[in-house]
């Protein structure tokens, strides 16, 4: 089947993906098509076109602040011995559930916060509050001094230091020095 850039077939409102849109596709690609198509459908129904959000800058290994480096080698999958590979049965046996979990746990989650709470702990100004599981953190800018202690310890580099927004310049003193933060809080 032929689809346009929005995974829509020639028939408006009919979307397609996976093997049927041609080429030797894998299951992974098909899953991705489904996800993408769902967004397109959602946008279509709202009368909009979906646009791919800008890709966040790549977080590389040297940008992480891991507390320490432990070895976690790839989980080996059981394989058929060479001699036994005589038919079309699978050579690689795949993971069992614990193995699969372990393999997934090797991910360093580069750039993606997983709420370890260590930014909250590292903040000397108590400017970071926890919003509860899955809801991330809030940074109170009238407490934040911009010291970057949070960013410099973030194991997955989910925090970036950014300049103060230009449209609302921070109050400065006669020498151009920042006057914020205004508040002070000791650790609870």
């Amino acid at each position: 089947m032929v689809v346009n850039g929005h995974f829509m077939t020639g028939h408006a409102g009919i979307f397609a993906g996976g093997d049927c849109i041609g080429g030797a596709r894998t299951m992974t690609a098909a899953t991705g098509h489904g996800k993408r198509a769902a967004r397109e459908i959602d946008a279509y129904l709202y009368g909009q076109a979906w646009e791919h959000p800008p890709t966040p800058p790549l977080v590389t290994f040297d940008m992480l602040h891991l507390p320490d480096y432990m070895d976690a080698t790839r989980t080996p999958q059981p394989e058929q011995p060479l001699a036994a590979r005589t038919d079309f049965s699978e050579v690689v046996a795949g993971f069992d559930a614990p193995q699969a979990r372990r393999e997934a746990a090797r991910c360093l989650s580069c750039g993606n916060c997983y709420e370890c709470d260590n930014c909250f702990a590292a903040c000397p100004e108590q400017a970071i509050t926890r919003r509860g599981p899955g809801r991330g953190y809030e940074v109170s800018l009238d407490l934040c001094s911009g010291c970057a202690a949070c960013a410099e310890q973030c194991p997955c580099h989910a925090i970036d230091m950014v300049a103060e927004p230009q449209n609302q310049p921070a109050p400065v003193g006669s020498l151009g020095e920042p006057l914020a933060p205004a508040r002070f809080r000791v650790r609870a």
């Binding site: 602040h65 891991l66 507390p67 320490d68 480096y69 432990m70 070895d71 976690a72 979990r101 372990r102 393999e103 746990a105 090797r106 991910c107 360093l108 989650s109 997983y114 370890c116 709470d117 260590n118 909250f120 702990a121 590292a122 000397p124 001094s145 010291c147 202690a149 410099e152 310890q153 194991p155 997955c156 003193g173 020498l175 151009g176 020095e177 920042p178 006057l179 914020a180 933060p181 205004a182 508040r183 002070f184 000791v186 650790r187 609870a188």
Partner: protein
């Protein structure tokens, strides 16, 4: 008016704690008693009546010194500091001297400065004094020659103390006195508190007449800190002793433009000699002048002194000559032995030298009994290599001259010996050993007494049990913990009893040198006659043990007398306690037929809300059991003291203490004592059986309180000790310890970084290791992604924990309940055994590989092994976390020069040494030279290392063919910044050593001797503000200026913490401190700005409690900077009068108020064209008051003098604001507006 009541109720607590231990007697978090709070006011000059009271030696001396002087130039040094503190307090109170003026009390930057100031003041006509000891007196020597050479009247009051040699010591002997006997000062020594008081005025009278300057000394601690009942001289008597005509003459000799002259000239071979000889007649006349003053004094008081006091029959054949408090022991022993009247025993005499310089041969010979056949001379000093110790040499020379010129018929046999160094107890058994030795056919010469010398075989055997004290003296021994108030309560008890008409009391406090949580033994005596027993209690009628654990560590009942009373503070009640006692204690109770009582004073204190303060409860029990006072009277007196001691802390504290008194007796229980010991609890070994031999034989013996008995052969000959011995101490001082909740923990490291005692250890390890873990061992998955096989454990070393709670306060992980955290304080006893097993297991998990730890943030640093652990620092100490941090960051290549101060005591106090090596055998090389030379000492390290590194480089180039060119190039050029690089370099050094192993040529052997220098060494110069701002400021400045790669860490408590909290130039305006009782009048010195002025010094100001990450960065940058660095570290201290548990929060407030800005000045930034000055903290967000008035050092002044306090606070706020603005200005500058590094200018 000197009403008896006033002296009686106001004197005994006056600033008389020993310095290293003064902190110990102050509970963390309680208000800090200072001399200012408790000092006795000397009373006005119209008093005519002598008053009997009970005070310590320092107070007794200072009372006189203050009144007969106009200028006091002071500097703190143990054990003399209380004299200076009292002078400062009295001046702050506006109390006048004999002439109606308030003396000016001027703190100086060092004792050398104090002596210079004295010199200037006496040369300008003022009656001037100073108070010092030991190293301080040594620093005064140059000026002492001048003052004496110019025949200037002054009295220095010295609490005589040991000198730093193979080891330093704050305790008493005569080494300092003997080190100044050649200066031309007269030396007048007292043997008791009363004598110290009396001779102080006699010295003053004599110096004015003789023009020879005087040192008047008491024995440090033994007399300076002994409380004893004495008769205080009425002012009229002091007045009568001082002849104003002589004062006028002193003034007339002073420098004045109105009758100018030149003094202090430089002379040449033609005249210098005569100038020296010209003073001789003054020294010839001085002894008679002193005796005349003594006689006049006797006329006024009835107490007759003489230059040489002889006690004993005139037909005595054997005489022992001695000086200071030891003379009282000799005297009492001689009289007792004579009274025993054994037929075969020769008659004995005791001769005390009071005026040691000028030494009057004539008076000495006259004082000796005519038929003396044998003399033993006791020196409380050591002069290595001398043919005789000084007093012995003097006696020998006087006798020999007298025999030679016919004044003496024949030469008696004379032997000499040493005793009592560093306050080694000198008791009648030892004095008897000396008399016994004299009676032998061939007495040993140059003997020692009081130790076991199995090397030179000098020591005499002695009887440790001899009891010569008169019947009717009640002797008591109390074992307490520094912070529990035992010492304070005992001081009160002595005061209560000493003030009863016709009663006499004595108290002496034997401290160990832990800064807090020290074991203190209080030795108290009460009697109907004056107590002349300047030695420890060995036959106690009453023994109280205020902490149950002591029973397992010390021989608490070793001194209990048969039929005595034993009071135990025990968590176990009367029914249960017996079986909990070590078997040996049971046996002692039975065989000595002790009456045994228990009280759970800690529970009573908790119940009434007094926390750890068990003092008043146990004091009440003491009075109840000992019957030294009628019960009602005792309770009334205790409550009066509570009002006095705690009245200024508010009515609630008073009520709590009164409630504790009322609850005490009800909680006291007699324990039925079985006929037979049935215990199964053995005394555990002090150190584990598998500890190294030295630790078992020396360290462990010292920890067990048996250090006295370690023979000379076991001691290192040169003061070298193994590090890492605190791990064997297991002090177990905390009742409550932190407990870990792995569920709530976020593994952030915030607890570990603030722990002063390194008791919080974190490891990440392979989950498989848990296989053999004890069931109670806790762990959690790593709280970060990417660690599928690892677990995290936070292990608390509960036996080493002080229970300060700083970790809990700093724990951000508050649980769902909003109350508990990831760590919470909980009772230790129930978990002790399982935690021991857990720790044992935890230690089987290997330390984390330094190459794999991220040392750049707080979370990572928790995985670095601290090589500074379990120190004797106070609970909540603000200094120790920084030391621990540098040990984690640089420990395996760290060499530390440590200035004398708290950090030298809790690091260097034998036998518990916290600096240690890691499993690879690399660790911290630590040394303490002095207080006044530490920067120079550290620079010496650097120069030596640099020089040897240069040599290693040159030789390796030369031998590159044999070593291999590649290896040499790598050794010379490989970077050394990261742990991996250090590891590689060490491997290269090992390869080099292997290549050259077995070489016999000089160059190869020489290279091997310096090969370790290929690894970059981290030289740190560590000290407090007293060191950096004051006494070694000149040296520090010089060292920073040299451009060498040294790192200076200033542990800035803003006071002299070690000596008990005296003001330094770091003390802020508006704060009160000892020596600044009326509040500091000028702002603190900005040492950072002074260092910044060089332009090429890395400078940082940090405060762990405000921003631990910034502190970490600064310390790493300082270390990495290839040049001089200085880091000023805000260190909260018990001297601030805060709850140490919340000390880190107080540090945060110091920063938030703008008082302690955080910043870094990094010259390398300048090199990159950037601004080297980076301000790391924000503009003030709270007022200075909001920070300061949470601390007693500020609050005290607000309470005592609100107007002055408000004024000073106003000025302090202005100073802080202005300073912050100045830093802002620096931070906002363009990088080019800083000095370039001179090396960058081409």
């Amino acid at each position: 008016m000197m009403g008896g009541g006033m002296m009686n109720t106001n004197t005994t607590q006056a600033g008389s704690l020993p310095s290293a231990a003064s902190a110990a007697s102050t509970p963390p978090g309680s208000t800090q008693p200072s001399a200012a709070d408790n000092a006795a006011a000397p009373t006005s000059a119209t008093d005519a009546q002598a008053v009997t009271t009970t005070i310590d030696g320092n107070t007794a001396v200072a009372h006189i010194a203050y009144r007969v002087n106009e200028v006091c130039a002071i500097f703190p040094i143990t054990p003399s500091s209380p004299m200076a503190e009292l002078a400062d307090v009295w001046a702050a109170q506006g109390i006048a001297n004999l002439w109606g003026a308030v003396p000016v009390v001027q703190e100086m930057q060092a004792e050398g400065g104090a002596a210079g100031c004295v010199h200037g003041a006496v040369q300008s006509g003022a009656l001037t004094t100073t108070f010092t000891a030991s190293q301080g007196l040594m620093l005064m020597i140059p000026n002492m020659y001048k003052i004496a050479g110019e025949l200037t009247s002054t009295v220095f009051h010295v609490a005589a103390r040991a000198l730093a040699a193979g080891a330093s010591s704050i305790f008493g002997d005569h080494q300092d006195i003997m080190a100044v006997r050649q200066t031309g000062f007269a030396l007048l020594g007292a043997s008791s508190v009363q004598e110290g008081h009396d001779l102080a005025v006699i010295a003053q009278a004599a110096t004015l007449r003789a023009r020879v300057p005087f040192i008047h000394f008491t024995d440090g601690f033994r007399t300076s800190h002994e409380y004893n009942t004495l008769s205080i001289l009425p002012d009229a008597t002091i007045r009568a002793m001082i002849d104003d005509e002589l004062v006028y003459a002193h003034r007339a000799r002073a420098l004045s433009p109105d009758h100018p002259f030149i003094r202090g000239t430089w002379q040449n071979p033609d005249t210098y000699f005569q100038t020296r000889e010209a003073v001789s007649p003054y020294y010839a006349k001085a002894p008679a002048i002193v005796q005349e003053a003594m006689d006049r004094f006797a006329g006024l008081t009835g107490r007759q002194y003489s230059l040489f006091r002889y006690d004993g029959p005139q037909d005595a054949e054997h005489v022992v000559v001695s000086m200071g408090s030891g003379a009282e022991v000799v005297r009492e022993t001689a009289l007792w032995l004579n009274a025993q009247g054994k037929a075969d025993q020769p008659r004995l005499g005791a001769l005390q030298v009071l005026l040691y310089r000028p030494f009057s041969a004539e008076h000495f010979l006259a004082a000796l009994p005519p038929g003396v056949k044998a003399i033993a001379v006791l020196d409380r000093t050591k002069e290595p290599g001398a043919p005789a110790e000084p007093l012995l040499a003097d006696v020998l020379s006087v006798l020999a001259e007298a025999v030679a010129d016919g004044r003496l018929e024949r030469m008696p046999r004379v032997i000499g010996g040493r005793y009592g160094l560093s306050s080694r107890d000198f008791h009648p058994g030892m004095a008897r050993a000396v008399f016994d030795e004299l009676a032998r056919p061939k007495p040993r010469n140059h003997f020692t007494v009081g130790l076991v010398d199995d090397v030179s075989h000098s020591s005499l055997d002695y009887d440790d049990t001899l009891d010569i004290e008169p019947a009717g003296t009640t002797r008591c021994l109390f074992f307490g913990l520094g912070a529990d108030g035992t010492v304070g309560a005992n001081k009160n008890s002595v005061e209560i009893l000493g003030n009863q008409p016709g009663r006499y009391a004595q108290a002496y406090f034997d401290y160990d040198s832990h800064k807090s949580g020290a074991e203190t033994a209080s030795h108290l005596r009460f009697g109907a006659a004056p107590i002349r027993a300047p030695y420890l209690v060995r036959h106690a009628d009453f023994v109280a043990c205020h902490k149950f654990e002591f029973l397992f560590r010390r021989d608490v009942l070793g001194a209990a007398k048969e039929g005595g009373i034993f009071l135990l503070n025990s968590p176990y009640g009367p029914d249960e306690v017996w079986d909990r006692l070590p078997r040996r204690v049971q046996e002692q109770i039975i065989t000595r037929r002790l009456s045994f009582y228990v009280i759970d004073a800690s529970a009573v204190a908790q119940r009434v809300g007094l926390g750890p303060r068990v003092n008043t409860i146990l004091q009440t029990c003491f009075f109840h059991l000992s019957n030294v006072l009628p019960a009602d009277e005792a309770i009334r007196q205790i409550k009066a003291f509570i009002q006095k001691s705690y009245g200024d802390k508010g009515p609630r504290i008073v009520e709590l203490n009164n409630a504790a008194v009322d609850a005490a007796v009800a909680a006291l229980h007699a324990v039925p004592v079985p006929a037979q010991a049935t215990g199964t609890v053995a005394m555990p070994p002090v150190v584990p059986a598998d500890a190294p031999a030295f630790v078992r034989e020396v360290t462990g013996e010292i920890m067990a309180g048996r250090g006295d008995m370690i023979p000379v052969s076991r001691m290192p000959v040169d003061g070298t000790f193994p590090g890492g011995t605190t791990q064997y101490e297991k002090r177990n001082i905390a009742l409550e310890v932190p407990l870990w909740d792995p569920e709530t923990c976020i593994q952030c490291g915030q607890c570990s970084i603030v722990c002063p005692h390194s008791v919080i250890r974190a490891k990440t390890y392979e989950a498989a290791r848990l296989e053999n873990a004890p069931g109670s061992f806790k762990s959690a998955p790593v709280n970060a992604r990417g660690y599928p096989d690892s677990l995290f454990t936070l292990q608390f070393y509960v036996e080493d924990c002080t229970g300060c709670g700083v970790c809990v306060e700093n724990c951000p992980a508050i649980a769902q309940d909003g109350q508990t955290r990831a760590i919470n304080m909980g009772e230790k006893l129930p978990i002790l055994q399982t935690e021991r097993e857990n720790i044992q297991f935890f230690e089987t998990i290997p330390q984390m590989d330094r190459r794999r730890v991220n040392a750049a943030n707080v979370r990572g640093v928790q995985f670095l092994e601290p090589l500074f652990e379990f120190s004797g620092a106070c609970g909540g100490c603000g200094e120790a976390p920084y030391l621990k941090l540098i040990s984690q960051l640089f420990g395996d290549r760290l060499q530390i020069a440590n200035a004398t101060g708290c950090s030298s005591i809790f690091a260097g106090n034998t036998p518990a040494h916290p600096w240690k090596a890691n499993a690879q055998g690399r660790g911290v090389a630590w040394s303490n030279s002095l207080f006044e030379d530490n920067a120079e000492f550290g620079l010496g390290f650097r120069l030596a290392i640099d020089q040897q590194t240069e040599l290693a480089h040159a030789l390796s180039r030369k031998l590159s063919d044999r070593i291999g060119q590649d290896l040499v190039s790598a050794l010379l050029d490989a970077p050394q910044r990261t742990e991996s690089e250090f590891d590689l370099q060490r491997a290269r050094v090992a390869a080099l050593k292997e290549k050259l192993a077995g070489s016999t040529d000089a160059e190869a052997k020489m290279l091997l001797s310096v090969a370790d220098c290929f690894v970059k060494r981290s030289v740190w110069i560590v000290g407090g503000d007293g060191w950096a701002y004051d006494i070694d400021y000149g040296g520090l400045d010089h060292v920073l200026a040299q451009g060498r790669n040294v790192n200076v860490l200033v542990l800035d408590t803003e006071v002299y913490s070690n000596t008990g909290g005296q003001s330094s130039k770091a003390t802020p305006i508006g704060a009160s401190a000892k020596f600044a009782a009326a509040g500091k009048k000028v702002p603190r010195k900005d040492l950072a700005m002074q260092a910044i002025a060089y332009g090429y010094v890395y400078v940082a100001q940090i405060a762990m409690g405000a921003n631990a990450e910034q502190a970490l960065i600064a310390l790493r940058e300082a270390e990495a900077y290839d040049g001089p660095s200085i880091v000023l570290a805000y260190s909260q201290c018990i001297a601030h009068g805060i709850d140490m548990r919340t000390g880190m929060k107080q540090a945060a407030r110091a920063v938030a108020s703008g008082y302690w800005p955080l910043f870094r000045f990094d010259p390398t930034m300048r090199r990159a064209g950037l601004n080297p000055f980076r301000l790391d903290s924000t503009r003030p967000r709270i007022s200075l008051e909001d920070y300061a008035y949470r601390e007693l050092r500020y609050k005290t002044l607000e309470r005592t003098n609100p107007e002055n306090a408000a004024h000073l606070m106003h000025q302090a706020q202005a100073a802080a604001d202005e300073r912050y603005r100045m830093y802002e200005d620096l931070a906002a500058r363009d990088g080019s507006r800083f000095l370039p590094h001179w090396e960058d200018v081409t």
